[in-house]
């Protein structure tokens, strides 16, 4: 059992007691992880299931259909981020494809390859005195986020997205106005310059939440396979 889901069980139990609906007091939760159902789903099955659940007789009222579940013009934009950064121009996007299935979305906002839990390290090539690892960036249409290189690392790592060269090296932002007309994702290309292959730490901020992530650049992070082909060093 993980602490967060144990805490959720306690919160729900407390809420149930407050509601005074149940006659019996809930039991203390132990061994959640061993007791939960061995049931899971792929994205395809989930998409089908969404339609099954949201439509048809016998289910809850059908108000939404999967193919109509794109960004809504009536959605309130998330709160403005406190930090300032370089605004990535929406016009520099190169496509509207969703991220590959193997890459998880971070904070509901963006997807980046090269994270140790889901893909190999990025391959680097020599660029003058430094190494460059090309990468893609998938941004959820209509969200606001920041991608930050921690100040302590900026001597060793800079990044670029869109066509800005190194102007946006430390703190990249995108705002909710960057939305595709009929797609859920906006794609950018860019990458990272490093002096030496490294397991880099980046910070993602979206909707007031922060996540620290790691990207293998030219070499694997702990437990991560190295690049598919040998990197130049």
């Amino acid at each position: 059992m993980t602490h967060g889901f144990d805490q959720l069980a306690r919160e729900l139990s407390g809420a149930e007691r407050r509601l005074e609906v149940g006659a019996r007091r809930p039991h203390t939760l132990h061994g959640l992880r061993a007791l939960v159902l061995p049931l899971a789903t792929s994205a395809v099955a989930a998409a089908v299931l969404a339609v099954v659940l949201l439509t048809g007789a016998g289910g809850r009222r059908a108000t939404t259909h999967l193919r109509n579940s794109g960004p809504s013009s009536s959605s309130a934009p998330p709160a403005a981020p406190r930090q300032h950064g370089w605004m990535l121009p929406c016009g520099q996007s190169v496509g509207t494809q969703p991220p590959p299935r193997a890459i998880h979305v971070l904070l509901g906002a963006l997807a980046l390859p090269g994270r140790p839990d889901e893909s190999r390290a990025l391959q680097t090539g020599r660029d003058g005195a430094r190494l460059f690892a090309k990468s893609g960036l998938w941004v959820r249409s209509g969200v606001r986020f920041q991608l930050i290189v921690p100040p302590a690392v900026r001597e060793r790592l800079t990044m670029t997205w869109g066509n800005a060269g190194e102007a946006n090296h430390g703190n990249v932002m995108i705002d909710p106005a960057c939305r595709a007309a009929s797609a859920r994702w906006v794609n950018f290309v860019g990458g990272y310059w490093v002096r030496h292959p490294m397991c880099a730490t980046l910070i993602v901020v979206s909707d007031g939440r922060r996540r620290r992530i790691r990207i293998g650049i030219g070499t694997g992070c702990p437990g991560q396979p190295g690049p598919a082909a040998p990197s130049q060093r």
Binding site: G22, S42, T64, P71, H104
Partner: protein, 172 residues
């Protein structure tokens, strides 16, 4: 049915029995472990607030719960974040998910619902996938498969109905 009884009388047990299916559904649709965890929390909170309104005629408690998860997920995908309406209503504290929690979410293996899908006859499975996932029209599918549009409609309809029936079965 056991799940219905748990929903009404022992919500913690209901949570334990259904957490993984909700998480796996949410992470499969969002592919974001943190968002999926937030969605699971809000889904169970909403189920707790609405459980008096559940009627077995609507289908199994698990299907009812997944229906809530489906609506919450669609809403979160539109907004880019999860609204904590039910959790606030219940006075629940916001949970900060740890790396362990997120690793747990991502460790959930795909399987059972894929198997449910795989149990459909091949013509129905292909028709459902083409229409629901690939978003092809009935006419387009008919052209590709060489059968009439009426047949395609029938296959999709029967496939979805079979999936609903399977979801109404007791959790495995």
């Amino acid at each position: 049915m056991e799940a219905e009884r748990e929903l009404r009388e022992d919500f913690e047990r209901f949570y334990r029995a259904n957490l993984k299916v909700v998480l796996s559904y949410c992470v499969a649709r969002t592919r974001d472990p943190e968002l999926a965890a937030d969605l699971a929390a809000e889904t169970f909170a909403a189920a707790l607030t609405a459980r008096d309104g559940y009627a077995p005629a609507q289908g199994s408690a698990r299907r009812w719960l997944l229906g809530i998860a489906a609506h919450k997920t669609s809403d979160a995908l539109r907004r880019g974040h999860v609204q904590r309406r039910a959790q606030r209503q219940l006075g629940m504290a916001e949970i900060t998910w740890s790396e362990d929690d997120l690793a747990y979410v991502t460790s959930i293996e795909p399987g059972s619902l894929d198997l449910v899908l795989a149990e459909l006859p091949e013509d129905q499975r292909r028709a459902v996938q083409a229409h629901v996932v690939d978003e092809l029209g009935y006419g387009e599918i008919a052209q590709v498969t060489g059968v009439s549009e009426q047949t395609v409609r029938k296959r999709v309809s029967r496939g979805l109905a079979a999936l609903r029936r399977q979801l109404d079965q007791e959790p495995r």
